[in-house]
């Protein structure tokens, strides 16, 4: 049977629509499933109490603190280095062997599975540098892991700043540094922040790299030299060792909510900062 063009058009449209819908359905299904099972567990005491009995009872307060701690350490290291590298690539060099090597390194780093970062962090930071399982070792490992994302998104954001802004700035007698700080950076900030948010999400959700480098101690960390258990690791252990599926889903629900809040919250902050000035 031959299909006429009109029928083909209809079928194609239906298939494309179906593909888009199924993506949405999968996403919604996952989130709903976790929220339905996890939300009833969430309570004030679940958020504020430390875990007892290996996480069978009590809350997850120490894992929340550990997650924030390790993410902050990773960002403190990766953000300055990443943005610095991006500015170097975008503003200070023209295409050369060195920039190609730097870019190739960043791309390669981005393609490495996180468990390899974990193994490297374990061998280098935990054993060789003698940091032991600690927030510092975990944060450093995560910093390596998110560095390529930050470099790439920041470089793209910097390159997207219209050349005319740089010319105007130079024409006013600004130095290169003044041009970068006062003109290019404010225009690129949204793209840079997007990259950082993406990285925060990866830090919060990372399991393999963290379990190798920060360990899985459940008590409340008091310094960056303590071992800790992040929420993602806690979830992994609770679920994989069958400790408490209920608390595992509670942790997962909080993870999803946190990432959602960070995305929406930071984006609206940046938008407010930008729209204050850029409204047309």
């Amino acid at each position: 049977m031959r299909l006429n063009a009109r029928k083909k058009e209809y079928i194609a449209k239906a298939m494309i629509w179906g593909a888009a819908m199924s993506v949405m359905i999968v996403l919604v299904a996952i989130i709903l499933y976790i929220l339905i099972r996890g939300l009833p567990v969430l309570s004030f005491s679940f958020l504020t109490q430390n875990p007892y009995n290996m996480g069978r009872s009590g809350g997850i307060a120490s894992t929340i603190v550990g997650t924030i701690y390790i993410t902050v350490v990773a960002l403190l290291i990766a953000v300055p280095f990443g943005i610095g590298t991006a500015f170097y690539l975008a503003e200070y060099t023209r295409d050369s062997i060195i920039t190609r090597i730097i870019r190739f390194s960043a791309e390669s780093l981005a393609g490495i599975p996180s468990i390899i970062y974990g193994l490297f962090g374990y061998i280098f930071f935990v054993i060789y540098l003698g940091m032991g399982w600690s927030i510092l070792a975990g944060g450093l490992t995560l910093a390596f892991m998110i560095l390529p994302t930050i470099i790439r998104t920041s470089e793209e954001a910097i390159r997207a700043v219209p050349q005319i802004y740089r010319e105007s700035s130079f024409s006013l007698g600004a130095t290169k540094w003044q041009t970068i700080i006062k003109t290019v950076f404010p225009s690129a900030i949204q793209g840079i922040v997007n990259g950082v948010i993406l990285s925060v999400g990866r830090c919060i959700a990372e399991t393999a790299a963290v379990i190798f480098t920060a360990g899985s101690v459940l008590s409340m960390p008091t310094s960056i030299f303590d071992s800790t258990r992040t929420m993602a690791v806690h979830f992994f252990i609770l679920a994989s060792e069958g400790v408490s599926m209920q608390n595992a889903f509670g942790t997962a629900a909080l993870l999803i909510i946190l990432i959602f809040i960070i995305n929406v919250g930071v984006n609206s902050l940046v938008n407010r900062f930008i729209s204050k000035n850029q409204k047309r």
Partner: protein
């Protein structure tokens, strides 16, 4: 209006400019007079903008540019090895083709230049904001909205804000690179009036595609055109009145009477 007796502000001596291997400007010799408006005219691709950008070294930003010869500002070569380009650009301001204000408030757009040069006190900056906006004939329209975003202004107002921004660094020379080509006739007239006013204090060089504009506002006119080897040449450079009434070169005549191309 004759200006030949005026003081020479800028002098170019056998300037040649190459983009890579392509020869964009060939052997340019010209004197730019103080407190006058010099119009640079010619067909597209003749090197007008490149010529203009010699004076604030904007061509330096393009990879692969080589420049030889001398450009003297106040009898000092701006391409000398020890010349500091940032100092040069404080003396030579520029207004671009399209209004290119920064996505900031009106006030911030004006103070960004002075702040780069170390003026930090609010009182000093306030004086600069008011002075520059008054000079650019924009003060009355925006004095109550200084903290509003500059992008909220009309195109003509934005271009005058660009002029105010350039004036805020107290330059000696102001370059206009086809600065009216994106504007409506009324805004263009306002900016032309402004140029005439500013020429009393500053040296002004404009690049324009608009022959009437060159004839209306400028004292001197420089006609550029590419020769058979595609090298940009300064064909004729004379007081505007003389050039428009009795062009010496056949090519100038063809161009200003619209017979070119």
């Amino acid at each position: 209006m004759e200006n030949t007796q005026k003081k020479v502000k800028i002098k170019t001596k056998s300037v040649n400019l190459f983009y890579g291997t392509s020869h964009a400007l060939g052997d340019i010799n010209a004197d730019i007079y103080e407190n006058s408006i010099t119009a640079v005219i010619g067909p597209s691709g003749c090197g007008k903008s490149t010529f203009l950008r010699l004076f604030n070294r904007m061509n330096d930003l393009i990879p692969g540019v080589t420049i030889n010869g001398q450009v003297l500002l106040n009898y000092e070569n701006v391409y000398a090895k020890d010349a500091y380009v940032v100092e040069l650009r404080k003396k030579v301001g520029m207004v671009f083709q399209k209004p290119n204000i920064f996505p900031m408030s009106i006030r911030e757009n004006i103070i960004i230049g002075p702040r780069h040069h170390g003026i930090k006190k609010k009182a000093d900056l306030d004086i600069i904001v008011e002075r520059s906006l008054k000079q650019a004939a924009l003060w009355d329209e925006v004095k109550d909205n200084l903290n509003k975003p500059g992008l909220g202004l009309s195109a003509g107002e934005q271009q005058r804000l660009c002029i105010a921004r350039a004036l805020a660094i107290e330059p000696e020379v102001i370059l206009f690179d086809e600065s009216c080509s994106a504007l409506d006739p009324e805004s263009t007239m306002r900016i032309e009036d402004l140029m005439t006013e500013l020429a009393k204090k500053y040296t002004i060089i404009i690049v324009t595609h608009n022959m009437e504009q060159a004839a209306r506002v400028s004292h001197m006119s420089a006609f550029f055109m590419i020769d058979d080897e595609k090298i940009g040449r300064l064909v004729e450079y004379r007081p505007t009145g003389d050039m428009f009434s009795s062009p010496k070169d056949k090519r100038t005549e063809d161009y200003i009477t619209g017979r070119y191309g």
